[in-house]
Amino acid sequence: MKNINKLIGAAAVVMMLAAPAFAWNFPWAQKAANKLNMTGSTTVLPIAQAEAEAFMKSNKEADVSVSGGGSGVGIAAVIDGSTDIGNSSRPIKSKEIVTAKQKGVNPVGTIIANDGIAVVVNKGNKLEALSLDQLKAIYSGEITKWSQLGVEGDTIVIVSRDTASGTFEVFNELVLKGAKLRTDSLMLASNKEVAETVMKTPGAIGYVGLGYLSSDLKAVTVNGVMPSDSTVLDGTYKLARPLFMYTNGEPSGLAKTFIDFILSDEGQKIVKESGFVKIK
């Protein structure tokens, strides 16, 4: 019995020591109505941050916190109940739905924007069109000279986003499809850097979010379709994907107010300003 008492005593001491180390957020406690957490996709992150800032300006009481981690993290956080909104640059997987249902969670996704990628070359380049297969061949190093594409020029300078970026993720998934990127590719940290490098380098090819297209760059058609908001929206332009915010059940409370704000004209203007494509 002595030993049992010691064990219980030891457990009590551990609990007391551990208590300050974490927040005792009781699930049945009333959650502050003005607090909203979201986490997940790094692609969605800049939209979420810009929207949160604008939302808090017009809703002074609201306290919106945003973090990244990746789409898988966002969806997992919705499933385990640790976030209000899980941001994702891909649709939820069947496996995740099954896990969610087993835990009594009903994940509902709302498309809040579209992510479109334009393939760009230097303004002096005569290239007008590429197929997805040609694009893959260029970026994997099978095609290395502009002459192989029937245009003037020597070696193709490959400009890419770094592998940590969401834009690279899309490009890898939709274009490379498992092929390795040419080893001498320039890996740049932002859309802006890619755009500037292609502008300054005659033999360069790069890809940027649609929001970064300008008259200083030349966009080429992919599979015969020119990138634009309308071709992304009607689905004819293939280098695009929808971006989601997932909630447990239909959005409600502050999450609904926030998502409604993103879907509003004001919110969609922010989507556009962030370099993405509006949903309508």
Partner: protein, 369 residues
Amino acid sequence: MKKAISFGLALAFVLSFFVVASAEPVSLFYGQQWDRYDYQVFGGSYVAVPAKSNNTFTIPRTYLRYKLTDDALGYEGNITLDINNVNDGENSKITITGGNVTAAGGIDWAIWVKKASVDFKKIPILSDIDAIIRVGQQDVYFGAIDTWQYPVIEKAMEDKNSIVSSADQGIALLGKIPQGYGAYELAVYNGSGYKTTDNDATNGDITDKAYDASLLLTPIAGIYARASYLHKLTNSLGTKTAAYNASAFVVGGASGPIEAFVEYVTDNAAKNHVAGTKSGVAVGVSGYIGVKLADALSVHFRADTYNPDTLVKLDEMNTFIVGMNLKLTSMTVLQLNYQLDKFVHTMHGASDNNLTNNNQFLAQLVWSW
């Protein structure tokens, strides 16, 4: 020597992934360790035996895991090395019997390759129906054994009572039902489990495989049901014709902070088979409920009843567990359990000293990285 060979093979397997890693895959090295304190008090003997207790610190599991994923190429390799005190530390316990202290002979460590498998995720036709092929040493998809996340320290009922092995070597088709309405698994294994080689050529066991099918349905959020069936031929009785069949049915649910399930398991292997008598079947029922009280605190209850042979009277074993899990940091959880194993009869024989109760007070620190 055997252990050294196993470890060498496992290491080679891991290193081979580093070579393949040049194809821009994502690799992850992670794992978990269980540090356990176990205070056992045996009691309620049918015959006069001295009081007996154990009081031991053990490391029942150290899982070293490596995962290599390449979504573009559509494969994922997994390896799990399990380093532990053999038999959950039973061989290294300090036992007090009738006032006499007995220390076990020495610390006995083992290294097992618990899992070593590769998933092929982009096989034509299969990828269209959200299915993959998994090749190698992997989970046995049965009842709750492959989904049990150890909310209490005890193993799942089918693991505790050796109804099926928790891992085996083979090949499996793992699929999802469209729209997230469930999942299914079809597998062929050696049937001998991951700790036993399937090398009994004399009796033909090497050619006899285990066949496993499991179906999980998730009709609505919060409710699920799973049915599993495993069939194999075994030569445990000296012939290759003895068929072993096991079935499991699980119904579970979750709502807010509460999770629960009930499992029914049956198999036709008579664990308490008495020579010259007819054997029945084994039947077990396990019920579990867990309640999350706070982000870092949850309580858990489990009750099992297991009858190893329905034609043998008074041979049931009942288990009651109450536990509390305290998340100390994001990577460490302290589990405190009280577990009572109550044996109804005297058939456990000399190995159990005819005891009727085994009271266990367990504290376990789970460290994940």
